[in-house]
């Protein structure tokens, strides 16, 4: 409305200005001296891979988290945003990706909960209809959220924000759950809002839509701002390079000679999600041969957890032949019997899945080592053998700890990850499935883990790595495939793969079906 005069806009203070924002989590510097300025009425993209620190930053803006240091100015005034309700009163609204709808409640109730002094539900329904007509967001207020499609759920989130007449709207991975048609109508809504003077902070890793929608883009990597650009003047390829970083070497894995026999075979594997909001996987097919490292890239929440549970044996397959280990049907075997066949497994979550935080390293060595390391004798634990095994892990992988009697929870993330990977590697597996091997691990530990994995492959183990860290996957894998919306792309030779194309595949583009129906986005980042 009043935003036409370009000169005036120049002189006015930024709607939101962040200076030197830092936030430290145990073992991870999530935001490192972040500066960001958002002008009134602009659509500003915040671009970065999972774990780059985008979610932490927006949670600080929305008052969910507090920064350790740094300043926030709102319309030129210094502010401290202590809570989401304070943020809302200031005019900041946020569309959360995954965690702010109440499943068993109706649309109207969900919207009312986002307002500080909601009117009664009948009048609210009328207002919802009004906002809906104005922005083309139709909703049925009486429906219960768990019956809604993902697109409809997002409309609930957006309408909830619009009811507050926000001056800054934060959208966290908004299109990751939308069909192309839904995404297009969302863009129309956002442009209309921006024209009315509302600033939009648009978080995404999808390059194409940022190029079509946003006026400016800020790229984050490893907690820092690495670039600011006008995305309309960049190619998707360039943006992908900015996001992933160019400083990686891809020469670590020597191009393998002949492939050995297939040690892990997955054929036509489909499985429903185990968790409530998980993503099912559909008709997954691949093979990993002796000495080979196959990488599965993809944004979290695209079916990785379901695939990993199917591979580890925590979820049994519909048919025994879906998964074969060393040529034997293993789809109907539990974790223990799969280990007997030669499988080792490193899950995504270190504490609470891969290790029991309250137990000692020796106990945690026993947790998965009992079968292949012969640590039991007629139902009793052989403690000296167990301690020796834990000791060997600690020594071989330079795990910094207070000895094998110290709690797993007392180790730093990197050291615990080295311990867990060492625990599996020392079992001399025929097949190793490893999820996110270097997530949140410092560079030194990451290098050690990569070397260990390459050595293991050199000894003939078939290795499958599931990770979001494209850099890492390109560095150490022989072949690479992308998991998106529970479907796996074709496997490409890593040496010949094109980063831009992989980035596009991860963003849901470039698949032969051409639909953009992947789920997930920053699920993991949003939940931590």
């Amino acid at each position: 409305m009043a935003e036409q005069d370009g000169m005036a806009e120049q002189d006015r203070p930024a709607r939101l200005q962040l200076s030197g924002i830092s936030k430290q989590f145990p073992g991870c510097l999530a935001n490192d001296q972040v500066d960001l300025a958002l002008a009134p009425g602009e659509i500003h993209a915040l671009l970065g891979e999972n774990g780059a620190g985008k979610s932490t930053l927006v949670k600080i803006i929305y008052g969910v988290l507090r920064a350790d240091s740094g300043e926030i100015h709102w319309d030129g005034q210094p502010v401290s945003i202590a809570s989401p309700s304070q943020a809302r009163r200031m005019g900041i609204a946020m569309v959360f990706q995954h965690f702010s709808l109440f499943e068993s409640m109706t649309v109207a109730e969900n919207i009312a909960l986002g307002l500080d002094h909601g009117p009664d539900l009948d009048r609210l329904a009328a207002q919802v209809g009004e906002v809906g007509r104005r922005y083309g967001l139709t909703l049925e207020p009486e429906r219960v959220v768990h019956d809604l499609s993902v697109g409809e759920r997002q409309r609930v989130e957006i309408v909830r924000c619009l009811m507050q007449n926000p001056r800054l709207l934060i959208m966290d991975e908004p299109t990751s759950v939308l069909t192309p048609g839904e995404a297009e109508s969302l863009f129309k809504t956002l442009r209309q809002l921006a024209d009315e003077g509302c600033t939009i902070l648009y978080i995404s890793h999808k390059l194409q839509e940022i190029r079509t929608l946003c006026d400016r883009a800020t790229v984050m990597r490893a907690g820092r701002i690495v670039a600011t650009c006008d995305p309309r003047h960049e190619t998707a390829h360039d943006l992908a390079r900015l996001m992933i970083g160019e400083d990686f070497s891809r020469a670590s894995k020597t191009a393998g000679g002949t492939r050995g026999a297939a040690r892990l075979q997955v054929r036509g594997l489909s499985m429903a999600a185990a968790a409530m909001h998980g993503t099912p996987i559909t008709h997954i097919e691949f093979e990993v041969a002796a000495g080979e490292i196959l990488a599965i890239a993809g944004v979290a929440g695209n079916g990785q957890n379901t695939l990993l549970a199917a591979l580890s044996g925590e979820q049994l397959c519909a048919s025994a032949g879906d998964i074969r280990i060393e040529g034997q049907d293993a789809g109907d075997l539990g974790p223990r019997r799969r280990r007997r066949l030669g499988l080792a497994f490193v899950p995504e979550e270190r504490l609470g899945h891969g290790a029991v935080p309250e137990m000692s390293l020796a106990d945690n060595a026993l947790l998965t080592g009992y079968e292949r390391q012969d640590l039991l004798s007629r139902g009793s634990i052989m403690f000296s053998r167990t301690r020796d095994y834990a000791q060997r892990i600690v020594q071989s992988f330079q795990v910094v700890s207070g000895g094998v009697g110290s709690h797993a929870g007392s180790l730093s993330g990197g050291n615990l990850q080295k311990f867990i990977i060492g625990r599996e590697l020392l079992q001399k597996p025929k097949v190793l499935v490893v999820a996110h091997p270097t997530w949140g691990v410092d560079a030194g530990a990451a290098a050690a883990i990569h070397t260990a994995l390459l050595d293991l492959a050199g000894q003939g183990t078939a290795i499958l790595i599931v990770s979001q860290d494209l850099d890492e996957l390109l560095q150490i894998s022989d072949r690479i495939a992308v998991l998106s919306d529970g479907r796996l792309s074709e496997c490409m030779l890593t040496a010949e793969a094109d980063i831009g194309r992989i980035g596009l595949l991860m963003g849901g583009h470039g698949r032969s079906e051409g639909d953009v129906n992947d789920a997930g986005g920053e699920r993991r980042a949003a939940q931590t």
Binding site: P84, R88, F96, S100, E103, S104, M105, L113, D116, G118
Partner: protein, 306 residues
């Protein structure tokens, strides 16, 4: 016909304490807290109401004291589980053990003493009607209060803003916290309400159902109330049905022998407990149905920084 009416009136008496305790626990569980200490709060409410009624001579003050005693116990539970983040299951058990002991200690000098049964609210003309009169209009105030608590709870949970916030906290406490709702405070208030209602249930037992004090006189009714909440799949309306069904079963055991069935009394007394197990199995077996209504955060510890 007269006999049937008399039986139905005793059903009301058996159902009322269950209804009070279960309504309170339902609101507590809707906020995402599992308080297994209903039995303890109820028995302390029973002795509190009895002792104060006897000392002051006022049943009204006694009833209020019963509610206050239950709420005081709930406050201890809230302090343990909400502020000190203690395990809810263990804390609930502690509440019950303490409540039974403390009530016996308080009630020792009141054992065997008589108190006037709560007066019926006689509505001139209406309660004099044959059969229908005593059945619908011949009860004391607490009976009507317990029944009115159902529509009131439905209104609170479904129509009021505070009820909406309470449900959202029970559904997903992290999301409610992210939206700025006061998780801990709402749960404190819900627990206090639950405690007061359990206390009222106890007060009804010692002032109206069997107007006297006997050690451990709740006899597992607090636990049955907990099961009723599951049985009702967290819907207040069904709680009314459930409480009267269980009240009916409790009373049936008293009357079966009167009808000439030679079943030992103990087996009949087992009926409410066995029926509770059967109801739990029937509801739990179909997991999805119960889960849809069960508060998703039930029993989880809320620590805002994790």
């Amino acid at each position: 016909m007269e006999v049937l009416a008399a039986v139905l009136i005793t059903v009301v008496g058996a159902a009322t304490p269950l209804l009070f305790a279960a309504v309170g626990e339902l609101v507590v569980e809707k906020s995402g807290v599992l308080n297994l200490g209903v039995e303890g709060m109820m028995v302390l409410g029973a002795v509190g109401a009895f002792a104060v009624t006897l000392t002051t001579g006022s049943a009204t003050i006694g009833i209020l004291a019963g509610a206050a005693a239950g709420a005081a116990m709930a406050l201890v539970f809230a302090l343990l589980t909400l502020t000190l983040l203690a395990n809810q299951v263990a804390s609930g058990l502690a509440l019950t053990i303490f409540g039974i002991g403390a009530s016996a200690l308080i009630g020792r000098s009141f054992v065997g003493m008589p108190v006037d049964r709560l007066p019926q609210l006689d509505l001139p003309g209406l309660s004099g009607l044959a059969i229908v009169g005593p059945l619908l209009f011949g009860h004391d105030a607490l009976v009507y209060l317990s029944i009115l608590s159902i529509p009131a709870t439905i209104w609170f949970l479904e129509r009021s803003r505070a009820g909406l916030v309470l449900r959202s906290i029970g559904e997903n406490h992290q999301a409610a916290h992210a939206l700025g709702h006061p998780v801990i405070m709402v749960r404190y208030l819900a627990l206090l309400f639950g405690g007061a209602m359990a206390g009222l249930g106890g007060a009804y037992l010692s002032l109206a159902y069997t107007p006297m004090w006997a050690e451990n006189m709740t006899a597992g009714r607090g636990w049955i109330a907990l099961a009723l909440v599951v049985f009702a799949t967290w819907r207040p309306g069904r709680l009314l049905l459930g409480a009267y069904l269980f009240g009916g079963i409790t009373v049936a055991q008293l009357h079966v022998q009167g009808f000439g069935f030679a079943i030992p009394a103990q087996f009949l007394s087992m009926l409410p407990y066995l029926a509770t197990i059967a109801a739990l199995v029937a509801i739990s077996a179909d997991g999805t149905r119960a889960r849809l209504n069960a508060p998703a955060s039930l029993g989880r510890i809320f620590h805002p920084e994790t």
